[in-house]
Symmetry: C2
Subunit: 149 residues, 2 copies
Amino acid sequence: MDLQERMKRFEETCRRQGLPVTVQRRAVYEALASRKDHPTADELYDAVSRRLPGISRTTVYRVLETLVKMGLAIKVDHPGARSRFDANATDHPHAVCLACERVFDFEVRDFDLGDIPEQLPDGFQVTGVTVVVHGYCPFCRAALEKNRG
Amino acid sequence: MDLQERMKRFEETCRRQGLPVTVQRRAVYEALASRKDHPTADELYDAVSRRLPGISRTTVYRVLETLVKMGLAIKVDHPGARSRFDANATDHPHAVCLACERVFDFEVRDFDLGDIPEQLPDGFQVTGVTVVVHGYCPFCRAALEKNRG
DNA sequence: CTAAGTGCAAAGCATTTGCAGGCTT
DNA sequence: AAGCCTGCAAATGCTTTGCACTTAG
């Protein structure tokens, strides 16, 4: 799906849900949808600020929250790190670099979690499963090895 | 493993790692090891305060950090919630209740993540995999259904 | 004795909230 | 016109830090 399609879908979703299409919302969504990494709210604030100098950090936070509720984005959290956002709202696993905290997507072929629910506490109703891989990304690995000398 | 064994192991681990066995450390570890749920730092602070009235929240935080480094505890984080701690330091999946934020352990039979690494970004070095199931625990489910009435 | 641990108070950081005014529909 | 959205500034909540004192080994 390219950016134009995404913007179109964004506006449709807003209308369908009765939410005003504001400049700020469009700008934040566009900033998020046009990158492949998983920016933090602040990184998005920086990016959006360039095009929309008056926008406030608060608004970026609020718009991101809205996008998540609308189903147009996913919020990715992990230990001790700021939240990151992903315009790819389909359920998919993430790989997190322990050094730089960057988040990477990856696809899974045959990742069957079908039988997990059986092992849960009696009566636990499952709504989703999150899989996170931690480790070191190629960039940080290289840097670490260099330092070891 | 029962509490006594755990306390013994705790002291041995301290000695092996050259860390003083302080009253506070023992108290925090004992408080954590003797419960089956996954308390937050603050819940532990409350519990420990009863036996050791002078202890400070800061110390509880610091001790927990130390326990994690020592390999005697695990820190469990998730979106928008306070960190929780688990004296069961072996790698195992958690189920998180979206309503009360409680964390539940569960075991997996044949949970093979063996082929995930192949799908990762080139050169990503995996150190661990976290699996989190979200949903509603039996208690909150019951409460929610009641409210729907 | 010496290094490490502790308590207090204050700082830090990401995120949220209250409120007055502005913009979409 | 009506209501939701925005910006500002201040508050929040969890967690960390600086510093002087105490304690374990």
